[in-house]
């Protein structure tokens, strides 16, 4: 259970990205976060694992106060929260294997890891993770040589190495074409259904949210605009979230 209480983020330039967000997300839910660019989706996701430091409010996950955790405790918490990114955030010059293994860094012995040593079970785990996302044959390729969809799958495999209980996905398909988008979303869905990992995924397209999410949260100007089932978003709701001039675009 992830509980967000009165979360506010004010950037140093004075921009208020989040204004008192309150949320409760039970374990195992697939939550889509929608909203216009700049509505606070990315900030919300990054506040959860404190890649961005919240200004005020609390985030409590399974009884642990993430917002109050000191550095060492925060790292232990972050290990169980996977994250994938719009730009994949892989080290392009390094091999796929090395990228996937880096997802295990929070667990392995820090001294060994600095010598680039990973235990055998971790290497096997990395192969398994690559198998799950269907690119085990690319293990030795340079990550930068892969196509966008494949890179995102490497990103998922890296997150899988963390044995995550929750997955944060920041616009995971915004840089991909529609067909690839669906394949990446299907992998996220698989993790959600098979492993029971909660997924918090920010999306641009409402149609994707309708297809994959159990619940949709809409942000507008840093405030919670809608929280409910994707089925409940009708034309009026849609206009509320995206503005009067918005037109729905389907992605198939």
């Amino acid at each position: 259970m992830l509980v967000i209480e009165n979360l506010t983020k004010v950037y140093e330039n004075g921009f208020i990205a989040l204004k008192g967000i309150n949320l409760e997300i039970p374990d195992g839910q697939f939550v889509a976060i929608i909203g216009l660019s700049g509505s606070g989706k990315s900030t919300l996701l990054r506040c959860i694992n404190r890649l961005i430091e919240p200004t005020s409010g609390r985030i409590i996950w399974n009884g642990l106060d993430i917002t109050a955790a000191p550095d060492d405790e925060l790292r232990v918490i972050r290990r169980r929260i996977g994250m994938i990114f719009q730009q994949f955030n892989l080290v392009k010059r390094a091999s796929v294997m090395s990228n996937v293994l880096s997802g295990r860094l929070g667990y392995v012995n820090p001294v060994y890891s600095l010598l680039n040593y990973f235990p055998r079970q971790d290497r096997e785990k990395a192969i398994m993770a690559l198998k799950r996302v269907g690119i085990e044959d690319k293990a030795q390729n340079r990550a930068g040589m892969l196509s966008g969809g494949q890179q995102q799958r490497v990103g998922i495999a890296r997150a899988l190495m963390q044995d995550p209980e929750m997955m944060l996905a920041d616009e995971p398909v915004a840089s991909l074409d529609p067909a690839t988008s669906h394949s990446v979303m299907k992998y996220l869905q698989l993790l959600n259904k098979e492993d029971g990992i909660s997924v918090l995924c920010s999306l641009h397209f409402l149609s994707l949210a309708r297809t994959y999410a159990d619940r949709v949260i809409a942000l507008k100007d840093g405030k919670l605009e809608f929280d409910g089932s994707p089925k409940d978003i009708d034309e009026d709701r849609f206009r509320q979230i995206y503005g009067e001039d918005a037109v729905q675009v389907e992605i198939h």
Binding site: L51, V76, R78, M83, F85, S102, R104, P110
Partner: protein, 693 residues
């Protein structure tokens, strides 16, 4: 669309352009006079001649030479032909093709020109004529139309030389001998001594550059991390934690230099068997440190987690000291093993490193102790500091701030005591500390962070007011005006004794200012405040790097040669220092231009800071680092060619020597060698960089 500019503004802009061109011209003209550009001196004939000679000789490098043997052809000659007396017959052509002379006529009065023909000499080589009088006195004869003693034989080894029969008392009527010494080359051409010296010094130069480049790789890579804004900016730490650590640094230093160092000395003094034993223990400790650093539990347990972390740090501290000293002992042992050949070089290398560690063992232990204790202190107090109620936060912050302020300013004063201009450190740091106070107070009173332009400008005005005030007070208290004008240092005799500690008044004054400023700062911010540690480290590193880079390596070499003597070692030190400073900047710029996505991604996996750097930053910067290292070696070789001018070793020494002796042909050899080596390296480094990046 911008509105069309009004004619007035167009005219004004043109006027501005004209004025700036005119100003630029004046500035340029002034520079022309300052640099004394004039064409009168180059027109003096003597200068032109010397210049031509110098250029000609530099372009005729004294590269090769041949060995010569001198063969002599001679013939008899009667001075004053007398009736009835036979003139000596011209020597007949010898059968074995050795040189011979034919003189016509065979007798003549002194003062009369005679013609000497030489045969069988070496073609196009030097020869010289000697007149041997009847009593054996020898005199070199210049041939007519020649200003030098030597002349050159023609293509088929002959010569025709006209000389004038010399006037030698008592030679009249006697038979003299005319000798011609001809130079005959023997053996193949070979290098001159200058060339040999130049080659030797060129090798020295290349290695000087190589060693300086290699030594500076690691320090500059590490420093570049601190000089990279994108890595440092997010590094923040709660003020309470920081203050605890700063307060513990000197205590840790004391423990290190007094207790840990005993362990170091113990190991350094061990016999070989003891070393083996210590090595075993060390590996056990290292193994313990390595294995316990694994975080096994899935949930974070504050107490056991912290205990393990403390235990870990203790083990790490011990392991560091033991490993460092064992390395020193082993290296010293290797250093004694061989003296000659390739093993000798290796022995010498390791032996020197071992010696260096042995010499620096106390400060090494001090640093290990300081950071170890600070880290333990930070871990142990993190929970306690969190539980403080708001009032206590400020009280504790004030106390810790006072202690830390005293330590920081005391340390600055200790450095500042050493030289007048280093003394500026204390007021500057005090100023920076003091500058924080007024803006803090303002924020506190107005109850929010200033975001409006007016608020921010007021903030920065307050900052400067605080800075100048704190600077001035410190400057006056420490009586720095005197030090700066007179160059005097604070008197060592002026001390205060508190309990059993005797402390210089200068440091004490600085510490009191530190207590006031640090205390006030800590009191107003409280332990929960966030300190931008990364930003401070970044600014400090940048400032130090920029200052170091501003000092010309030739000057550094000059100063180092006082410490280590004239020779390549001084050059290595100078080039290393400069390389570290300039390469750390280049490296840090590379780090700043990397894709930050992977950093974010690795942080989100729970990797620690060092792991993030290793896995997200290092792979991205290795190609540019390699490229810059090659480039730097290239530059170092170029620069090392002149560092010998100031006693830094290498080829510059030969160059300077030859120029000072006006041996421009010798200098030409050095110039040629530099040109060849630099262009080869230029090409090589360009090729390697192209291939690698």
């Amino acid at each position: 669309m911008n509105p069309a500019p009004s004619p007035a503004s167009v005219a004004f802009r043109r006027l501005l352009i004209v004025i700036s061109v005119a100003i630029g011209l004046v500035v340029f003209a002034y520079g022309w006079s300052v640099t004394e550009i004039n064409f009168d001196k180059p027109q003096e004939p003597l200068r032109q001649q010397n210049f031509g000679n110098a250029i000609r000789e530099i372009l005729s490098p004294d590269l090769l030479e041949r060995d010569y043997e001198i063969k002599v052809g001679s013939t008899a000659f009667l001075v004053e032909c007398k009736a009835g007396e036979e003139a000596p017959a011209t020597a007949p052509a010898p059968s074995d093709s050795s040189p011979y002379l034919v003189v016509t006529p065979t007798c003549a009065d002194s003062g009369t020109p005679i013609m000497i023909q030489g045969f069988n000499f070496y073609p196009n080589s030097l020869a010289r004529l000697t007149w041997v009088a009847n009593d054996g006195t020898r005199s070199i004869q210049q041939i007519v139309g020649n200003t030098k003693d030597n002349f050159v034989t023609n293509d088929d080894g002959r010569f025709n030389a006209q000389i004038v029969v010399p006037k030698i008392r008592g030679s009249a009527g006697k038979v003299s001998t005319i000798e011609t010494q001809g130079y005959f080359p023997t053996g193949a051409p070979h290098f001159t001594n200058t060339t040999a010296l130049v080659l030797q010094k060129m090798v020295e130069t290349i290695f000087l550059a190589l060693i300086a480049t290699a030594i500076s790789i690691l320090p500059s890579a590490v420093i570049s991390i601190f000089a990279a804004h994108n890595l440092m900016r997010p590094v923040r730490i709660s003020l309470g934690n920081l203050l605890v650590m700063v307060a513990l640094l000197p205590v840790g230093w004391w423990i290190g230099t007094n207790l840990l160092v005993q362990l170091g000395h113990l190991i350094l003094g061990l016999s070989h068997a003891g070393t083996v034993l210590a090595g075993g223990t060390a590996s056990l400790v290292v193994f313990g440190a390595v294995t316990t650093s694994r975080t096994r539990s899935l949930e974070f347990n504050p107490f056991s987690g912290r205990m393990r972390s403390v235990f870990n740090t203790l083990l790490m501290v011990l392991a560091c000291v033991i490993v460092v000293t064992i390395v020193a002992v082993t290296f010293l042992f290797i250093g004694r093993m061989f003296t000659t050949g390739i093993p000798g070089y290796l022995s010498n290398l390791f032996g020197s490193i071992g010696e260096l560690i042995e010499l620096l063992i106390a400060p090494i232990c001090g640093v290990i102790g300081a950071f170890g204790l600070a880290s333990i202190g930070g871990v142990l107090t993190v929970d306690g500091l969190k539980k403080l109620d708001p009032t206590m936060q400020h009280v504790v912050g004030g106390i810790l701030g006072a202690i830390s302020g005293a330590i920081v300013l005391g340390a600055m004063a200790l450095i500042g005591m050493q030289a007048a201009w280093l003394g500026f450190l204390t007021p500057i740091v005090a100023g920076i500390l003091g500058a924080q106070l007024l803006p803090l107070l303002y924020t506190k009173l107005s109850g929010k962070k200033q975001t409006s332009i007016a608020g921010r400008s007021l903030d920065s005005i307050l900052w400067w007011v605080g800075f100048i005030a704190a600077f001035a007070v410190t400057f006056l208290t420490l009586n720095m005006g005197l030090a700066i004008i007179e160059g005097t240092l604070p008197p060592a005799s002026s001390v205060t004794t508190i309990g059993f500690i005797t402390i210089s008044n200068y440091i004490l004054d600085a510490m009191i200012i530190g207590i006031v400023l640090g205390g006030a700062g800590g009191l107003s911010v409280g332990t929960k405040g966030i300190f931008p540690l990364g930003e401070v480290l970044y600014q400090t590193t940048r400032t130090i790097l920029n200052t170091t880079r501003a000092i010309e390596p030739l000057i550094i070499a000059l100063i180092f040669s006082i410490l280590v003597g004239i020779g390549p070692f001084a050059g290595v030190l100078a080039r290393t220092l400069h390389s570290i400073a300039s390469r750390a900047k280049l490296y840090s710029e590379q780090i700043e231009s990397i894709d930050t996505g992977p950093i974010e991604a690795l942080q989100s996996t729970g990797a620690n800071r060092l792991q993030t750097i290793m896995y997200a930053v290092v792979p991205q910067v290795i190609p540019p680092f390699v490229s810059f290292t090659m480039y730097r070696w290239d530059i170092n070789v170029r620069m090392s060619t002149i560092i010998g001018f100031v006693g830094g070793g290498g080829i510059g020494f030969v160059l300077q020597q030859q120029i000072n002796l006006a041996q421009y042909r010798g200098a030409g050899v050095a110039v040629l060698a530099i040109a060849i080596v630099v262009s080869i390296l230029d090409y090589l480094s360009a090729t390697i960089r192209e291939r690698y990046v």
